[in-house]
Amino acid sequence: MARTLYDKLWDSHLVKQRDDGTALIYIDRQLVHEVTSPQAFEGLRLAGRKPWRVDANLATADHNVASLKSERDGGVAGILDEVSRIQVQTLDENCAEFGIQEFDISDVRQGIVHVIGPEQGATLPGMTVVCGDSHTATHGALGALAHGIGTSEVEHALATQCLIQKKMKNMLVEVNGQVNPGVTPKDVVLAIIGEIGTAGGNGYAIEFGGPVFRAMSVEGRMTVCNMAIEAGARVGLVAVDDKTTDYVKGRPFAPSGPQWDLAVEAWGDLHSDSGAVFDKVVQINADTIEPQVSWGNSPEMVTSIGGHIPAPEDFNDPVKRAAAERALEYMGLSAGMAITDIQLDCIFIGSCTNSRIEDLRAAAAVVKGKKVAASVSRALVVPGSGLVKAQAEREGLDRIFIEAGLEWREPSCSMCLAMNSDKLGDGEHCASTSNRNFEGRQGYGGRTHLVSPEMAAAAAIAGHFIDVRDVVNY
C-alpha cells in the first residue's frame, strides 16, 4: 500500500503496537537543553534510573546564554543572572553525571539546539528526533520524524529510548509553481500559517511538498519545518532528495565510508509514495505569496507587505473578532493602517528559525553599505551557533553588519524569547526573524512582527517596514 513519508518513519520506528491504540516508538536522537531538562534528570535520580542509551543524546545550553561577548567571555561563571547561571550549571552537572555529550557554552560547536543538530549531522534523515522544545520540527527538513515534547517525556525518552505515542494524521501542504524573487522560505511558511491558521495543523504531521520545496535549500526547508508548530502541527517534513544528502555529507556525526553508502541507499525511500493518501491536502500557488509581516499576537495574524491592518469587524467569527480587537490593543495599531507605516524600535535577526549562514548572508546583502535608521534604537544579529558565527566572520558578514550599525552577537536564543538579557522594552515594536509574536514573548509589553531576514534587514535601514524588493534588485 502506498504510504506517506510520515507513515514510513512511523512504521520503521514502531517497537510495539498496544491494544489500547497507543504505540511504543523508538527514539534515535534526543537533543537536550537547559530549560526543559533539569526536572527530567531529577526524575531519573529520584527513581534510581539511568539513561537507556547515553550516545543517543546530545546537549547544549542555548536559551539562557548571554549574547554579549563581554558576558560570554566569563563562561558559565560569568552569567550575570544567578537563576540563569544555576540552570546552565545544572545542565553541565547533569551531563557529567549521566555521561551525556554536551557542547558547553565555551565550545565553538555550541548554539541553538535546532541549528547545531543538523550542522553536526547529529540529526539525520530517517531518524526519530525529540527535544523538550516545540521547534524540534525543524529537523523534519532532513526527512526525520522530529517533534517537541514536555519534560516528562524528556525523562521517558532518556529512561526508555521510546515514547508512548498515538499516530498523527497526515497533511500535505503543497506549494506549486515558483516563488517570486525576493520571496523567502519564511514568507512561504508565514503565508501557509495565515492560510491554515494557528490550530490548522493540530493532530497532523505536515509534509511540505511540491516544486517550491524541491527548489528550496535545505536551510530554507528548516525555516519552514521549524514553524510547523506555529500552524499547530508538532511535525513538519520534507522528503529526502539530493539536496538533503549533499547537505548531510561530511558532517561530524554523519556516517562515512561504506556506512554512508548504506545510509544513502536507505534514505532513497524517504518520500511519500505516489498515490499515498493524506487526510488533508492544502494547495497554495507560489505566485500569490508576497513578503509577509505579522501584525498581531498570533502567527496566523499575517499579511503581505502591501497590506493593511485588518479591522475586527472583518472577522465574522466572534472569537476571531475578539482576538483581533485584543491584538490591535496590545500591538498599539489601528485598523486600516498600512503595514509600511509601522515604525520600528528594534530589529532582531536570529533564532532557530532564521540564524543560519544563508539567513545571515541574505540579511547582510540587504544592509551592505547602508546605515540603520536613527529611529531604530537596537538592531541585533545573533548567529545560531559558534560555527555559523565563525563562517560568517570568514565571509566578512560581521563587518558588513557592524558597519551598517547592527550589533554582532554570540550564539544563543537571545531575543526570540528573551530569557537572557536581550529584551524588548514595554511598547517597543520589533521586526523579528523569530517564530512567535505572542504577547510578552520578546519582553514585557514588547510588540513582535515576524518577518524574513531580508525584510528585517530592509526595515532596519528604513526604520519602518518596506518591501525588500523595493530596496534590492532581485
Partner: protein, 215 residues
C-alpha cells in the same frame, strides 16, 4: 504520577482563543530547576499590573482586577473553562505545572494544542474536549450563576452540571487508565524492555550508522 480523583470544582473562565504557553507561564519563570512553585505566576502578565520575575513574593503585587481569576467569585476554582486551541506554542511543561500548582485539575475547551494536551496527562491535569456550542453554553451558565461548579468524573467520562444533566466526553483509554490509577508510565514502558531491546537489535543491523561504534 498522581491519581485523578473525582472532582466537584468551582469553574473559572479564560475567555480567549489561542491562549499560548507564554501567556500561561512567561519565560522568566522557566529558569527554575524545580517542578513546583509556578502557581503564583500563572497568567502572570494578565494577573498582575507589574512585570514579574522568578522567585518574587507575589503577595504585595498590584493585581489586575479586570482579570477574572482575580475576581472574588472565582477564588478556589479547580475547573478552567477555555476557548479553542488552548495551550498553543511552546512545549514547556511548566504550563501544566503552573495550572496544577494554582489549583486547577481540569480544563474544558473546544480544542487544545497537541503538546500541551499530552503534557497535561503527565500531571494529573485533565484536558477535556467538548463541542464549541457546549462550551458557549457553559460560559453563559457560569456567568449567570455565582458559585457555578461542575463535577468531573473521569471514571464515567462525564461532566455533570448543577442541574443534574451530564455531558459525556472522550478520553484515550490508556491515559484514562494511567490517571485513574496514578501509574508511572516509565515503569509501564520498562515492562516492555525486552521488546525495546529486540527492536534495537533489528534496527542496529538495518541502520548501523545510527549506532556509532563508540557504544
Amino acid at each position: 504520577m498522581k491519581r485523578f480523583t473525582p472532582l466537584n470544582g468551582l469553574v473559572a473562565p479564560m475567555d480567549r482563543a489561542n491562549v499560548d504557553t507564554d501567556m500561561i507561564i512567561p519565560k522568566q519563570f522557566l529558569k527554575s530547576i524545580k517542578r513546583t512553585g509556578f502557581g503564583p505566576f500563572l497568567f502572570d502578565e494578565l494577573r498582575y499590573m507589574d512585570e514579574g520575575f522568578a522567585d518574587m513574593d507575589c503577595s504585595n503585587r498590584h493585581r489586575n482586577m479586570d482579570f477574572p481569576l482575580n475576581f472574588e467569585r472565582y477564588q478556589g476554582a479547580e475547573v478552567l473553562l477555555a476557548r479553542e486551541n488552548f495551550g498553543c506554542g511552546s512545549s514547556r511543561e511548566h504550563a501544566p505545572w503552573a495550572l496544577e500548582d494554582y489549583g486547577f485539575r481540569a480544563i474544558l475547551a473546544p480544542s487544545f494544542a497537541d503538546i500541551f494536551f499530552n503534557n497535561c496527562f503527565k500531571n494529573a491535569l485533565l484536558p477535556i474536549v467538548l463541542d464549541a456550542a457546549i462550551i458557549d453554553q457553559l460560559f453563559a451558565e457560569m456567568e449567570a450563576d455565582e458559585g457555578y461548579s461542575l463535577v468531573v468524573d473521569l471514571e464515567a467520562q462525564q461532566v455533570r452540571k448543577p442541574d443534574g444533566s451530564s455531558i459525556d466526553f472522550e478520553v484515550d483509554p490508556f491515559r484514562r487508565h494511567c490517571l485513574l490509577n496514578g501509574l508511572d508510565d516509565i515503569a509501564l514502558t520498562l515492562e516492555d524492555a525486552e521488546h525495546i531491546k529486540a527492536f534495537e537489535g533489528r534496527w542496529k543491523s538495518q541502520s548501523p550508522w545510527l549506532f556509532p561504534a563508540a557504544t
